[in-house]
């Protein structure tokens, strides 16, 4: 059965039978341990106190204590078991539901927000866990407890017991009615508060008009009327709610009245003894708690069943294709594709594909062209089984595509989508994604480093990865040999390009203030060996703070920090926080709220009046400020001069007191706190210099080839983390990664859906050449083409319009025919 069709109750014993039985066992013992003290109470009064026997008093009190301790510990065990069962089942449900959701057809996801899936799996199912955990335990423990207490009471005195339980039917009659009234009143209250919110929202949005017309009283009255209604509704609801409470209380407390009256009468008459009366009273009072718990459980049952059904119904669709073949391994296909009268219809009875027939031989390359909306992409995706055709046959090597499993497709097809998706992880993880996912792929069959580098060269990703490599900060003591060679590259760079690129690079010059280094970096001017002297940790270094104080710089730092904080908060204060915004922000995204708070403080106080922690935050901001990147404030010339002076004093101070903490930057040493590029440049790239990146990259490649370091740096670049959803990659880079991962997989069928649309002309041409040389006769290629100048390279061209193929043939044939393709190519048709 599909997971979404299982009833909620089926989870109670799912992989839990033994634990549930154990739970039941514990419950039985617990119930006995709960009733036992009642009997002890009776005996303490009748036998021990009544007859004045000390030894019996001690014995019964001891037994009483033992039973109470046992019951309490067992209660804890029951709770622990409930939680364990509930959470374990929740984990199972989540796992299985997630697998199910992932297998649902794409059409389902077009109508589903990712947020919906997230909230379902993370939040919504929590009450189901609670239910499963308590499904057996709560009813069992409470019903048994009530029965046991009731039984004991009937055993003591049947008439009295009957009397005390006679109240419960009344309670069942009155309380639910009151509850219903309460709910009604609550709904009314919610409705009114929405109305009131609407009024406030409208007035505030139109505040211009209110001010313009001085219509304060009109808007004020509107508000007053609704607020009055809400006030009354609130009171009404509260009265009902307390009514329920009071009624509950009353029923609970009126019981003993009967007991004393009737019980007292019986006792005076000698038909009932005093001990039994006390035990009876206790039993009566103890029935209330389990009763209440049962009521709560009933509510939980209702809530979680509804919640569970909603969730499951939402995802209750069948996957369109089986994931794994049964009784065989996935097919190995050669890629003969044949379409016969294929229709693809979407909701609203719109025909996206209208009787398409087509034959592509293994190894042939077919281009699909046409206007947007002509169905060319859909055709490619129907062949790839991503869309399901409504009628006709799509055959690959004679197998009907609709009957193939996902594994069959994955083993034989590589797809490059127009907007490929990149997952978080390293570049290399993403390049190997398709290979790793391919059914039957073993670890040792995965492409090795050389093959990976070959492919990233082919798709033109090499330079990008090289750049990622050069922006890596090497971990200390891991690559001693590489560091030495990089220092050699540095000298070579200085000799050959030093003067040429002087405008593009800000060199680490000890006599100058560095615009592209932080204030902290300018003071340190070196390689902090001791972590507490790292640029971003300096503000927390107590020794350094004393040094700053001695230099008389603290005040100025706070002032600078305050200026930066004010300006930045003013600009970004009310905006949604996005990474794009914070790229050039001196305040990190996660710290922003703290600084907002700080700026509010600064409105009425001078930085020097803040407390030590707040001042330290300002210092942190000032120390991390980098004028070359952060433009919100200017760094005054005299401040820069002051820092330069402090740089010298810092060097002396470190030498005399922290001899090993910082190694001052020198041209002959690798700087571990800087990335590879900055080490080679012995400086930083100037962002404002147009084309600098290109020029430096060119010279760098020459040098790295000379030192035979190119591949090493690329290898390091492959470990670059692409960020969540690959957001640290550009559109072009993402497409190149997607192409490379398909090429690395080397499937017999390649489906390219405008796969080069985000690339520049040179890269597009490179990919086109690659298809026509390396992949010629190796893979069947179906390519949705957006650039007509690449068409000549394809074996055949299909021109599509309104879901039909209107021209089909070689490029030359179609041009000679002077039909639609001819017009498209020559641009006469709009």
């Amino acid at each position: 059965m599909r997971i979404t069709q299982r009833p909620i109750t089926s989870w109670i014993f799912y992989r839990n039978t033994r634990w549930q039985l154990l739970l039941l066992g514990v419950i039985l013992v617990t119930v006995v341990a709960r009733v036992f003290p009642l009997e002890m109470q009776k005996r303490i009064i009748n036998e021990a106190i009544g007859l004045g026997l000390y030894d019996k008093l001690l014995l019964y009190c001891g037994l009483y204590l033992g039973a109470v301790l046992l019951a309490s510990s067992l209660k804890y065990v029951i709770n622990a078991l409930q939680v364990y069962l509930g959470q374990k089942t929740l984990m199972h449900i989540r796992e299985e539901l997630y697998r199910h959701i992932l297998s649902l057809p794409l059409s389902f996801f077009r109508q589903t927000q990712p947020g919906m899936v997230v909230s379902t799996l993370v939040g919504e199912l929590a009450s189901v866990a609670e239910f499963v955990g308590s499904a057996l335990a709560v009813p069992a423990v409470n019903i048994l407890t009530i029965l046991a207490f009731a039984g004991y009471m009937f055993y003591l005195e049947p008439i009295l017991a009957g009397l005390s339980f006679a109240i419960y039917p009344f309670e069942l009659l009155v309380i639910p009615r009151l509850q219903k009234k309460t709910n009604q009143a609550n709904r009314e209250r919610v409705r009114l508060s929405r109305k009131l919110s609407g009024i406030i929202g409208e007035t505030v949005t139109g505040i211009h008009e209110v001010h313009g017309n001085a219509s304060y009283h009109i808007e004020g009255d509107k508000f007053k009327n609704k607020a009055g209604e809400l006030y009354r509704a609130n009171i009404r609801m509260s009265l009902y709610r307390y009514g329920v409470k009071v009624a509950n209380n009353l029923f609970q407390n009126i019981g003993p009245f009967f007991l004393f009256l009737v019980g007292g009468y019986l006792t005076i008459n000698g038909r009932f003894d005093l001990g039994a009366l006390v035990a009876f009273l206790s039993a009566y009072e103890k029935v209330y708690d389990p009763w209440k718990e049962l009521m709560d459980f009933y509510q939980l049952l209702q809530d979680s069943t509804i919640r569970y059904r909603q969730v499951m119904d939402y995802f209750d669709h069948a996957p369109e294709h089986a994931l794994e073949p049964e009784g065989r391994s996935p097919h190995t296909l050669v890629g003969n594709i044949s379409l016969r009268d294929v229709y693809y219809t979407v909701s609203g009875n719109i025909r996206i594909l209208d009787r398409v027939s087509l034959d592509v031989q293994s190894g042939e390359q077919l281009a699909l062209v046409g206007f947007s909306g002509s169905g060319k992409s859909s055709l490619a995706l129907v062949i790839a089984q991503l869309y399901d055709y409504s009628a006709g046959n799509v055959l690959i090597d004679g197998h009907e595509v609709s009957g193939l499993t996902k594994s069959d497709m994955a083993a034989n097809i590589g797809i490059v989508a127009q907007h490929p998706f990149i997952f978080s992880g390293t570049i290399r993880d993403n390049l190997l994604y398709s290979c790793v996912a391919t059914p039957g792929m073993r670890e040792e069959d995965l492409p090795d480093l050389d093959r990976t580098i070959e492919v990233i060269q082919q798709v033109g990703l090499f330079r990008d990865v090289l750049r990622f490599g050069t922006t890596t900060v090497l971990p200390r003591d891991t690559y001693p040999e590489l560091e030495k060679r990089l220092v050699r590259v540095r000298h070579e760079f200085q000799n050959r390009f030093g003067t040429l690129l002087a405008e593009d690079v800000e060199f680490f010059d000890e006599t100058r203030y560095l615009q592209y280094s932080s204030v902290a970096g300018n003071i340190i001017f070196g390689d902090p060996v001791d972590d507490s002297f790292a640029e971003d940790r300096l503000h927390a270094n107590a020794d350094f703070l004393k040094f700053l104080d001695r230099e008389g710089l603290e005040q100025r730092m706070w002032q600078l920090g305050a200026r930066i904080a004010r300006e930045t908060v003013d600009i970004l204060g009310n905006l949604p926080r996005t990474p794009e915004l914070f790229e050039s922000s001196p305040i990190a995204m996660d710290d922003f709220e703290d600084y907002q708070e700080l700026v509010r403080e600064l409105a009425s106080r001078d930085p020097s009046e803040l407390n030590a922690e707040q001042r330290n935050r300002l210092l942190e901001l000032a120390l991390n400020f980098t004028p070359g990147i952060h433009k919100v404030v200017a760094l005054p010339e005299d401040f820069q001069q002051a820092i330069l002076k402090v740089r010298g004093r810092f060097k002396e101070w470190v030498k005399s007191e922290h001899i090993r903490a910082v190694v001052v930057s020198s041209e002959s040493q690798y700087i571990h706190s800087q990335n590879i590029l900055n080490n080679i440049l012995f400086g930083k790239l100037k962002d404002e210099s147009g084309g600098a990146q290109e020029r430096v990259a060119r010279s760098l490649i020459q040098l790295l080839i000379g030192e035979e370091l190119l591949e090493k740096i690329v290898e390091i670049g492959l470990t670059f983390e692409v960020g969540s959803m690959g957001d640290r990659l550009s559109g072009g880079q993402r497409q190149k990664v997607a192409l490379a991962r398909a090429f690395l997989k080397a499937p017999p069928i390649l489906i390219l859906d405008e796969a080069t649309s985000a690339l520049d002309n040179a890269s597009q041409t490179r990919i086109q050449n690659l298809l026509q040389t390396r992949w010629k006769n190796k893979a069947t290629v179906i390519s949705v083409v957006h650039r007509l100048d690449t068409l000549a390279g394809y074996d055949r061209v299909a021109v599509m319009k309104s879901g039909q193929i209107i021209e089909f043939g070689t490029y030359q044939e179609l041009l000679e025919r002077k039909g639609v393709l001819y017009e498209l190519v020559n641009g006469t048709q709009r």
């Binding site: 003013d570 600009i571 919100v632 404002e688």
Partner: protein, 173 residues
């Protein structure tokens, strides 16, 4: 809000950018909060003489506003290069690249050192995505520009307009 805060803010790159952007017609009507952010996320770049800012046929990802210097606009068709004209300070180029990835229709080369304000589409759109009303304001500014252009085009040279009747109506009016 009263003006108890500092009356004259110190000059810095961000404030200069702010004043420039406020006067670019495409952005002028946007809310001040948005203009502030644009001034905050844009970057200045200086190009050496003969350096290309972009090449014809490339896909543009950013717009330029010339702060100082001169550049030359070059168009090549079928292998022959044609100089369309020179541009100087105060000129915006490539604004449509802020809306979509469009092909550059010409190359732009620096003649003298050329300093520009560069705004990336990614950052611009991240801003508009959170503020649909600003997207509307921006589109209106662009549309106004297209309408003005067509109006001028039709008025200036009626013969030319006759010849290329196909072009009439590009403003969709």
């Amino acid at each position: 809000m009263n003006s108890s805060t500092e009356p004259s803010a110190e000059p810095c790159e961000y404030r200069e950018n702010l004043d420039m952007i406020r006067n670019i017609p495409y952005f002028a009507r946007m809310d001040m909060e948005v203009i502030k952010v644009l001034a905050f996320v844009c970057k200045r770049k200086t190009f050496r003489p003969e350096e290309f800012l972009f090449h014809q046929g490339e896909h543009g990802n950013e717009s330029f506003y010339v702060i100082s210097g001169t550049g030359v606009v070059i168009r090549s068709d079928n292998g022959s290069k044609r100089i369309i004209g020179e541009i100087g300070s105060g000129r915006s180029l490539g604004t449509l690249a802020l809306i979509m990835r469009s092909k550059r229709l010409f190359s732009l080369q620096a003649l003298t050192p050329l300093t520009c304000l560069v705004l990336e589409r990614k950052k611009f759109q991240a801003q508009l995505a959170t503020n649909p009303r600003m997207a509307q304001v921006f589109l209106e500014a662009i549309a106004t520009r297209v309408v003005e252009w067509e109006d001028r085009y039709l008025r200036e040279d009626e013969c030319k307009a006759q010849r290329t009747l196909d072009e009439v109506g590009v403003s969709l009016i």
